[in-house]
Symmetry: C2
Subunit: 272 residues, 2 copies
């Protein structure tokens, strides 16, 4: 595999761009091909079987773009489909669950970790399973927060309604005495301030995006697959593909990442 | 076409069951085959091209079940795809837009009609276009309310958060002096009380589901296609198909319609 090949990153929609942002920061020499499944978003309320089928179609699309590694930048896809994807392909694949879980375990002092995410991610119990495999002493409390994604997508980032909904979802976690909270959905870093205010300053918020980008860098480094030369500007350094609504995607993308996203191509992902 | 054949009804998910409920009430002799596209829900934030492709796939599926007529029980699908569907098939197809618009025109006294719906339905301008084609004197004001569907699906039917969001969306319509408001999304009848409270008693709320079932009955009557005999119980009178999450669908369905929904079959709609 060519070390100058791009990295493939996918998500159910726009949330995975918070992971792209971290990859751009931490390994700026890498080219990225992003796919957002905006025609079938959201994944978080759908079944394992459906999310796995969708993820497999996207992986087939990304393979055709000759990526050297794939990042499932979506907690639901990571929770449901990562094992299946790993079985099928011969390039490195990483999800966002393990990096987030590892960071939380490093950070917690009292061993009580909270996780918030979609119905699917929380229902899968994957964060708790992974953490307890490493350390049976840890306690993990999950809470599904289905309204937070639509509130973020509607732009209510600093809004009393979002505060109120966050408070309802988080109050059981506050009462349980956790000292660490994993933001187990790629949309949540965008309302990090709200979540932090509701949880209080003594709770550390873990954004798996940061740790995912770090794990990706280490993985590529270990395999001698880091891009050695800085790509030229205009070299298709960052390419964006979606299954629907390119214009809307471009608007949202430019609110998340600094690199000017000028275009996105629409792909009929059902054909893969 | 056999008059004892079933009627096909489809929606992006569960919302169309409010139309099914009306059809069951008004023409109880009819058999119904319902399809809810729960693997790709919601439609209201997606593009015309994508919603049309999805609707065409569902119509192909319903045709294979030998339905005698099709109801697009989804405002977004009716707004974007009805013309295309009508071109392609030789059985009657009705949507929810025209029935809702006609009722609103009958009901209004001051000629100022409001419409609320998804981004797609409101963005298409179809309610305004249809009403103005009939009567250029009428004024039509649309407002997209993207958060109302997730709030309904999260079960916040009588909740201060839903009141607050409804008030924000509806305040410009209140100020504009409309006397009639079309509930232009099949989820909205489920929060009719909230919307009525916010709008005030002088504004008539129009639920297109009622009028759609009436138009369907008249259409079948005119074509001598009403089912003449009462179907036997256990005769597969009502059949439900979804593209994902049958159990979740069954739970929601039983909260909307009185007929006990015991089963739903999962169909891979991308194959149609």
């Amino acid at each position: 595999m060519n070390s100058s090949a791009p990295i493939g990153v996918f998500d159910s929609g726009v949330g995975g761009l918070t992971v792209v942002r971290e990859i751009m920061r931490q390994i700026p020499n890498e080219q990225i091909i992003y796919f957002g499944d905006t025609a079938r978003v959201p994944y978080g309320s759908k079944s394992r079987k459906t999310v796995t089928r969708y993820s497999e179609q996207i992986v087939r699309f990304l393979r055709q773009q000759d990526v050297k590694a794939i990042v499932a930048a979506c907690n639901t896809a990571s929770a449901y489909a990562l094992d299946e994807i790993e079985k099928e392909i011969d390039i490195p694949v990483i999800g966002v669950i393990r990096p987030g879980a590892k960071t939380a375990m490093d950070v917690t002092r009292n061993g009580r970790i909270g996780v918030i995410g979609t119905e699917a991610t929380i229902g899968s119990g994957i964060y708790a399973r992974y953490i307890k495999e490493q350390n049976t002493e840890m306690e993990v409390l999950g809470k599904a927060c289905p309204l937070l994604v639509p509130l973020v997508e509607e732009g209510l980032l600093n809004d009393p309604v979002t505060d109120e909904i966050a408070l309802r979802y988080l109050s059981s976690l506050i009462d349980s005495g956790i000292d660490t909270l994993i933001l187990g959905c790629t949309h949540y870093p965008l309302i990090r301030a709200t979540i932090g205010k509701v949880m209080g300053g003594h709770v550390t918020l873990v954004n798996p995006a940061y740790e995912t980008a770090r794990e990706l860098r280490e993985l590529l480094e270990g395999a001698h697959m880091l891009n050695q030369s800085k790509p030229e500007l205009g070299d298709n350094r960052y390419q964006f593909f979606v299954s629907d609504g390119a214009d809307k995607f471009i608007r949202f993308a430019n609110s998340i990442i600094k690199y000017g996203v000028l275009s996105a191509k629409v792909v009929n992902i059902e054909e893969y």
